[in-house]
């Protein structure tokens, strides 16, 4: 690995000042499970590595029905999974975080790092998009809010400027009968990169037996994770029967633009988008129906 300087600020303000000074010569470290590999391979060659894990604001999970969720960008995936509010109110996002690599990786890797690394196959991004996560980004000029679906701009590229950091995700509290789910296809049981990933979040009106809100997002089938708006729209206002779910699956397939690569062909991936969309919608609907009174 080339020589680097290491800095570990303890406040957002310090971090932003360091990044403003170093500009494009700096790269932030949130868990290091992608960055350290990229440094070793020479894919990224920053002079400065700014470690964000010692900033308390980035390590916090807080939830209330009134204010929803604030999930610090640097919270390790394993802490996401161990948090009772995360498992109860955002089971899909939680299972996406708990699918990343091994427990060794989850001890270090964060949801914020997963997003900022910008991989089209990142497991948590479709789950974040599905639950309507907003990203709070802070830079020298102040803060801005970016919707999760607008964050990635290409493979390994995001809207984040060199002097900005992602501080936290803000996610609304789920409605009474709402829930989410995430599934990915890999040819093994664990420890693999998604061939396809699909996240869905649904809100149901049980009295009327209809879906009143639905968001579906896709991973590993395009240059960025994809918000398949039409797939969700196919469910809104409808009874969640096989025909409606099939229309959502077809809309998800239409929204995908996969390529052939070592992990699968485009044709296979389109097929799997349909399969996983049907399954995540079914799982999220079941969870939403049985959600305890809140």
């Amino acid at each position: 690995m080339h020589a680097i300087n290491y800095e570990a600020p303890t406040t957002v303000d310090q971090a932003v000042k360091l990044l403003a000074r170093h500009g494009e010569k700096a790269r932030t470290l949130c868990g290091g499970t992608d960055l350290i590999i990229q440094l070793r391979a020479g894919v990224r060659r920053p002079e400065h590595v700014v470690d964000l894990k010692n900033i308390a604001d980035l390590r916090r999970i807080s939830f209330s029905m009134q204010h929803g969720l604030k999930l610090g960008a640097a919270v390790p995936a394993i802490e996401v999974h161990e948090n009772a509010d995360m498992r109860r109110y955002y089971p899909g996002l939680t299972e996406a975080a708990h699918l990343i690599g091994s427990l060794q990786i989850q001890s270090r890797a964060s949801v914020g790092g997963n997003l900022c690394n910008g991989s089209p196959a990142a497991d948590t991004i479709p789950a974040l998009i599905a639950v309507g996560a907003k990203c709070r980004v802070v830079g020298p000029k102040g803060e801005r809010i970016v919707a999760a679906e607008d964050f990635c701009t290409g493979p390994g590229r995001t809207v984040l400027q060199p002097d900005e950091i992602l501080v936290e995700f803000q996610i609304p509290a789920p409605a009474r009968h709402a829930s989410d789910a995430y599934l990915r296809f890999i040819p093994r049981n664990e420890m693999d990169i998604a061939v396809v990933g699909v996240g869905a979040a649904l809100t149901l009106d049980l009295a009327d037996d209809r879906c009143i809100d639905a968001r579906i997002a896709l991973g590993a089938v395009g240059p960025t994770p994809i918000f398949a708006k039409e797939a969700g729209a196919a469910l809104i206002g409808k009874k969640l029967d096989a025909a409606a779910i099939e229309r959502a699956a077809q809309a998800a397939i239409a929204a995908s633009s996969p390529i052939d690569d070592m992990r699968g062909t485009a044709e296979f991936r389109r097929h799997i988008v349909g399969v996983l969309t049907r399954r995540v919608v079914t799982i999220a609907a079941e969870r939403a129906r049985t959600a305890q009174s809140r």
Partner: protein
Amino acid sequence: MSKKTVVEATINGETMEFLCEPRDCLLEVLRDELELTGSKEGCLTGDCGACTVIVDGRPTCSCLMLGVEAQGKKIDTIEGMASPAGLHVLQQKFLEHAALQCGICTPGFLMSSKALLERNPSPTEAEIRYALAGNLCRCTGYDKIVRAVMDAVKTLAGARAA
């Protein structure tokens, strides 16, 4: 060239100070600086788990952590597993079940297993297999390793009940 930094960490229960360059990963520091060569280098990409150590109670690939990040942390390596009284029950069970052949993956498997049992003293077989998914072994076919951990769980439960 960046300067060497002084880092203080608790390693196997002992407070230690070491010098490292920011680019040195924890595995290099452990092996080359502190001469704790039990943690092995395999893939250097976090896939094989041969370098697994326990950092503040969490199993961690020491190849994916910078040495400077160890500041103030509590790190347990394979060298701290046995006590003067003898082998750790996991080590004993690995021997009894022949859960190793060439042995290069063994320190990592033992550290992952130890981290699991510290959090969950009575894991199911599925939970054991999940916890060991980040450790690769090219010799044993895994089954003997899983049996060894299951047997260690039983022995520890018996010791608790006694």
